[in-house]
């Protein structure tokens, strides 16, 4: 089965979902800047879904840029590399915005680091091959991806080598590269597509070759047409095609991306490979290219620092492990009216108050909202208007699930398929009664998880 892209089957969109204000203008025109390496870096040991990484360095040990400081903790896990040259200090415990308390390796950097500038020059440079990709051994590609510590940079941080391993049981015929970036405010993927389209194309060819995919489609929403042009230009003479999708939230959810493009529904509780697809974020794909062609592990990533609450919104190439406070300071600090700091975008991101919080592999942006943005109407009673049902992209009944969460009624929660919810927040966004639906659903999930534990 080949994907006929012209007027694709899914029509470029999916049923339900919402249209929150995009607010990309804060940072969409800001070219990616390289942030100088800070004095100390904090590398949390859990930066991927799955087992935490295991530290292999001791305090007072010297490390060089790119050295492995923690090895993979299992099959679904990746190693961690040092983004700087410097000295390891006593490890510390840090709290991530997700609420996870985790041990972190602390590295004191030497002065005059050039790693960030080199990384940027390589990423945006011109010498990215489009031919000869077929000569790489598919298994070697997956291994190299693992060794480079690459995880899904869209925020889910699923170890990428697991996805890109050749799989005989569930062969993948189509690789979808996700450039939708449907979260309001965030522009890191958009800037990457504009500034490093060649790296993305090479990465997509490599990943597609590893999977044995016949089709490679890069998906971009129609509010980023110049990114589409840049990618089309770079993709000339390759099998890669660019699909333009309608702008909608949560288009970047992999299940909805597949739905919008092909009309296929990924089975509930299943993976894209169940319908012969693999989905990977553009940043991840660029990291794959960096690992295989430039031999650079995942030590830096593009982070948008944006919103009305920050003095100078920007897109930054930041070393992983730098503190969020330092990034904000690099952008001129917070404005007087700053009211909430979010790791990620406003729809699904996690709020934090500690400026020492480190940037991890999954930090796609820091959104700083103002008092005006976060003003919420007081919660009133549910009048069963059904708007949450109308917008739920998973076709759930959010109000019932939230009710179950509030009253700890697990039977009701299961009947309404609580576990199918991926917390996109459409229901809470639209709710006229201002009910914190997602929060209540999360509470219900926690209860069910606690029940299922032996």
């Amino acid at each position: 089965m080949r994907l006929g892209l012209k007027g694709f089957a899914g029509g470029g969109t999916f049923a339900h979902g919402v249209h929150p204000p995009g607010r990309k203008h804060y940072s969409s025109d800001a070219q990616i800047e390289v942030v100088p390496a800070p004095e100390t870096l904090l590398l949390p040991l859990q930066q991927n879904i799955g087992a935490p990484s295991k530290p292999i360095v001791k305090a007072r040990q010297d490390v060089l840029y790119g050295d492995v400081v923690a090895k993979s903790g299992g099959f679904v896990s990746v190693p961690l590399h040092s983004p700087v040259s410097g000295k390891v200090k006593k490890s510390a415990v840090t709290t991530l915005p997700t609420g996870l308390h985790i041990e972190a390796i602390v590295i004191k950097a030497e002065e005059n680091q050039t790693a960030g500038n080199d990384f940027y020059a390589d990423l945006t440079g011109a010498d990215w091959p489009k031919n000869g990709i077929g000569e790489y051994d598919p298994n070697k590609i997956a291994e190299a991806i693992n060794n480079a510590g690459i995880v899904g940079l869209g925020g889910a941080t699923f170890p990428t080598h697991v996805k890109f391993m050749p799989n005989d049981k569930k062969p993948v015929h189509t690789l979808l590269v996700n450039g939708c970036e449907c979260e309001p405010y965030l522009t890191s993927d958009y800037r990457l597509m504009l500034e490093a389209p060649a790296a993305i194309i090479t990465g997509a060819l490599l990943a597609g070759h590893a999977l044995g995919a016949r089709d490679i489609v890069i998906n971009v929403e129609d509010n980023k047409m110049d990114a589409v042009d840049a990618l089309r230009q770079a993709a000339q003479d390759t099998i890669i095609r660019i699909a333009v999708l309608k702008t909608k939230y949560p288009q970047g959810s992999e299940k909805h991306l597949i739905l919008a493009l092909t009309k296929h529904e990924v089975p509930l509780g299943g993976l894209p490979s169940d319908v012969g697809m693999a989905v990977s974020n553009v940043g991840t794909i660029a990291a794959v290219a960096m690992a295989l062609i430039k031999d650079k592990p995942l030590t830096h990533r593009v982070v948008s620092v944006t919103g009305g609450g920050v003095a100078r919104p920007a897109n930054l190439l930041a070393p992983i492990g730098i503190s969020c406070g330092e990034l904000i300071e690099f952008c001129g600090g917070l404005n007087e009216n700053a009211s909430r700091m979010i790791a990620g975008g406003p729809m699904m991101g996690f709020p934090f108050i500690d400026l020492e919080t480190p940037v991890t592999k999954g930090t796609s942006g820091l959104t700083i909202l103002t008092e005006e943005d976060v003003q919420k109407a007081e919660e009133t009673s549910c009048v069963h208007c059904g708007r949450c049902v109308d917008v739920c992209p998973m076709r759930l009944v959010p109000t019932k699930i939230a009710l179950a969460g509030r009253h700890k009624d697990l039977e009701l929660a299961r009947r309404y398929n609580i576990m199918a919810c991926f917390e996109c927040g459409c229901c809470a966004y639209i709710c006229p009664a201002g009910i914190p639906l997602v929060q209540l659903i999360r509470a219900g999930k926690v209860l069910i998880a606690a029940m299922n534990k032996p």
Binding site: V389, Y416, A433
Partner: protein, 330 residues
């Protein structure tokens, strides 16, 4: 922190003082509140109100004022008794008042309107826990009570007031006239609404204008009126085929009585109707079927109120039967 300490902080630190956390999503659709939905309902009722005032003059004004005032008073009294937060500002009690006023005869005495309002708000809504918690449509609960308690004022003869200066009130309602003596009114009278009946039900066009507005705004779910109208049209069509000589056509069924008013403004009460689109359609179809059952087989000329109340009782069941399949489940 003392004021002196505060002054010493840098701008950066000052800003971080105000940082707060809350669960995602961090944005909300600011145009959408319960109150704005309720105001939408009031706007949609304007054409109906204007027509009723045009046809019934001060009879309509009197009923509207009495019902709105009594509903607000009842809401204030009962929320106070239950120690609940004051809830008049959400306009839901105003809407109940307007619906009660529009669903009773202009000639009904003042105490009938007051009792309908107090029963509607008190027993129909407040005892269940206030807005959002009631099972039955409050306006219809209030109306049902006075319908039974004051049958004389609310039944067929209650609509006529031979001594009235308002032309419409001197005649029987079209539904009664047909039931009693087989007289078929012209469609244009039913469509424009210059005839006798409950205040809000007479004009089909006013109900359609307001109803379509509500559906476009998604404040009412179009599935419910569609279900009602389709079912009535189909069953009315069958009745026409079975006994073609009565002269009462499908359009008479649709434009006559409280059908359109009920379909657009009463059955669509979100609190007492199902949640999912499919459930809403089933609910509407059920309302339509019960209306036709009563119209065709009972001596009772008009069944919108009972149809809505009966289907309200079935709403929890409809919700239970219509748990939608999530994306990817077959």
């Amino acid at each position: 922190m003392t004021k002196k300490e505060k002054d010493k902080l840098t701008a950066f630190e000052k800003a971080t003082c105000k940082i707060n956390v809350a669960s995602s999503p961090h944005l909300a659709d600011s145009a959408m509140t319960t109150r704005s939905m309720m105001i939408d309902v009031l706007i949609s009722l304007l054409p109906v109100i204007l027509v009723s005032v045009y046809v019934f003059h001060w009879y309509a004004v009197k009923q509207l004022l009495i019902c709105i005032a009594s509903c607000l008073a009842a809401e204030a009294l009962f929320t106070r008794m239950r120690n609940k937060p004051f809830s008049l500002l959400d306009y839901s009690a105003v809407i109940t008042g307007v619906i009660i006023a529009l669903s009773i005869p202009g000639t009904a005495p003042w105490f009938v309107s007051v009792i309908a309002s107090f029963v509607g708000i008190g027993i129909g809504k407040s005892v269940f826990g206030g807005i959002g918690m009631n099972i039955f449509n409050p306006a219809m609960v209030g109306r049902a009570f006075v319908m039974i308690a004051f049958a004389g004022y609310m039944g067929a003869s209650g609509y006529q007031n031979a001594g009235s200066l308002v032309d419409a009130i001197t005649q029987a309602t079209p539904m009664d006239l047909f039931k009693q003596s087989g007289v078929v009114p012209s469609l244009s009278v039913l469509f424009w609404g210059v005839t006798n009946g409950s205040l809000g039900e007479t004009s089909a066009i006013a109900c359609i204008i307001g109803g379509v507005y509500l559906c476009i705004r998604r404040t009412a779910s179009w599935e419910i009126p569609l279900g009602v109208i389709l079912t009535v049209a189909v069953l009315g069509g069958i009745q026409n085929i079975v006994s073609p000589d009565s002269g009462w056509t499908v359009l008479h069924h649709l434009f006559g009585g409280a059908l359109l008013f009920g379909a657009f403004f009463i059955a669509t009460d979100p609190v007492t109707s199902p949640l999912t689109p499919k459930g809403k359609f089933i609910f509407g179809a059920g309302v339509g079927a019960i209306i036709m059952l009563l119209r065709l087989f009972s001596g009772y000329p008009e069944g919108v109120m009972f149809a809505v109340l009966l289907m309200n009782a079935l709403t929890p069941l409809i919700n239970r039967w219509n748990v939608p399949k999530p994306l990817g489940e077959y």
